[in-house]
Symmetry: C2
Subunit: 339 residues, 2 copies
């Protein structure tokens, strides 16, 4: 199978997995944003009917998972594997969602890159013949993230202009060995890249070097150019991180300009929603993919995208110990199909 | 490839990945235990020369990784993918180990089941033809775990008799598409199983139902019996969890008795080392595998084992919110080979 490995970190999929169905769940602020109409479910209650924000996040994943299974007309027992993770310590959003469902679970941690990571691993499992139906899923919640990574919300801390707003949302996608829908043709696994950024309020710039490293690797390994894609979509670099990524590419002689966009700049309207540098979190790229992007790939409005999940691999402990913020980015190339 | 899927959660590997090399690093207490002579590196300093326990854990993983690569005679650039994770919030042990090494990284979270999870995913990647050389790796550290999950060590909290002792250690294994060594012939992915145990000082009993569920599934899916294995080795159920697992099996008409052992009961000598119900942590199963078990599979003293990584998917937050402790268990069947 040497043709599967053009480069060490990239692989093309001999049997392209089909993303037959997807579902998304979002919170109030996201519902009021530019993508509001693309979500399957939205909820005006930040608690999603639960007692705590962590349980609200679990509830969102549960709603996304059940909505996906309903749309696909399947039962739990017909799902092979579920690849999922989230930002909560010990990934309790995913674990408690899957508790006693009987579905086999591979837990991932890739910070905000988790949707791309789970698609990539799911694609490997389906294309390798290990499963016929796999779910890729993740979530994030503004309030559970703020109190875990930053300050208690009640403290009312001032946010810096470089800060981003964690998206409250969850998305899930079903990858199948057969069926109709957009298909994953190739992937690139990221490397942990760190240029020394230590400002935990400027995650976009901390992640931009990892994003460029993965995009460069993908293009080189698979002999592609930015023009091979309608869009190169990063997960949550936000406005500043996106500018830094363009600059890193420009210094390297690569023009990403017209093709590059970032889910963190798509999900909110910064002129009216005051999210500073843009959206962030696992949910940011997930709800943008499982609605807007896959929708346009299904109808052929987009022919091919490079979906690049970006993650900042810090913890409050590493930051308190004075360490920089390593970034990672996984890339998944998705081609149109469906209508 | 229908023969790859006898059951939904289990798969046999058409191309059996070979575990050509492995390496382990352990702390003082582990070095003084029954497996002391099987580790590649041991260190009497709990800080491993670093300033903090979290950095000590990173250092252990780094030592295990470098030792493995040295034993295999490879360079970083010859490694395809690294599957790793740990117990630290946001898995900073793994992320900081791989920072700027240029190695592609898939971050996993499976609590103490991580070594089995990473072997399973690595086996999928190699057998599916996506990579020729993959590393599976994890770690845990007594002091970083205690302060993250329980109490500050200086507080000197009394431990209950059901409590287990987190192993300070790291292990890494190299899976290759060709070569000589023990081989992975099949795997079973676990489900998140929860019978309602809420006592965070009795993790063995919280995880035992998940362990039994996965062992039962493996035997059923692949039409095997316990007698097909020299050993069925769970990761860190400890003495109490092991007894509960035997009882759960017995109630189901399955006799595991003579075949069953648990890394948590092997790694320390409870008559002299006072670890209460036994060892635990990602490092527990990892250093037992990457020394004692793989060593005996290499020389043929063991012909086939079912390595069952067990994980408790709780967080301090879920416990404080009154939730039970979901467990998971991933199983990897390894057959002898090497000498």
């Amino acid at each position: 199978m040497a043709e599967n490995r053009r480069g060490q970190h990239s692989f093309v999929l001999p049997q392209m997995p089909v993303i037959t169905h997807w579902a998304s769940v979002a919170g109030k602020k996201e519902a009021e944003g530019p993508l509001g109409k693309t979500f399957d479910l939205t909820c005006m209650d930040a608690y999603f009917g639960q007692k705590t924000w962590e349980q609200a996040e679990k509830q969102m994943q549960k709603l996304a998972l059940e909505k996906l299974i309903e749309k696909a007309g399947l039962s739990h027992s017909q799902i092979g594997l579920v690849f999922s993770g989230d930002l909560l310590n010990q990934c309790i959003g995913s674990s408690f969602t899957l508790r006693n469902t009987g579905m086999a679970h591979i837990g991932l941690y890739g910070a905000c890159s988790t949707m791309a990571e789970s698609l990539l691993m799911g694609a490997m499992a389906v294309s390798g013949g290990f499963s016929d139906r796999v779910i890729a899923m993740t979530s994030s919640h503004f309030a559970s993230s703020e109190r875990q990574y930053r300050f208690p919300l009640g403290y009312g801390g001032q946010r810096t202009p470089t800060a981003q707003w964690t998206v409250t949302g969850s998305g899930a996608a079903l990858l199948c060995s057969a069926g109709i829908g957009p298909r994953i043709d190739s992937c690139t696994v990221g490397t942990v890249t760190d240029l020394g950024v230590k400002d935990a309020s400027n995650m976009g710039c901390a992640m931009a070097p990892a994003a460029y490293e993965t995009i460069r690797t993908h293009l080189e390994d698979l002999h592609r150019t930015p023009e091979d894609f309608d869009l190169i979509v990063t997960g949550d670099l936000g406005q500043l991180g996106k500018e830094m990524l363009m600059e890193l590419a420009r210094l390297d002689g690569v023009y990403l300009g017209g093709r590059l966009t970032d889910c963190g700049t798509l999900v909110f309207d910064n002129t009216t929603q005051d999210v500073h540098a843009g959206g962030s979190g696992c949910g940011c790229s997930t709800i943008t993919l499982c609605g807007e992007l896959l929708g346009k790939l299904k109808t052929g409005k987009l022919q091919r995208i490079l979906f690049c999940g970006t993650g900042a691999l810090l913890s409050p402990t590493s930051t308190q110990q004075g360490l920089p913020i390593p970034g990672i980015c996984h890339a998944v190339s998705i081609i149109a199909g469906g209508d």
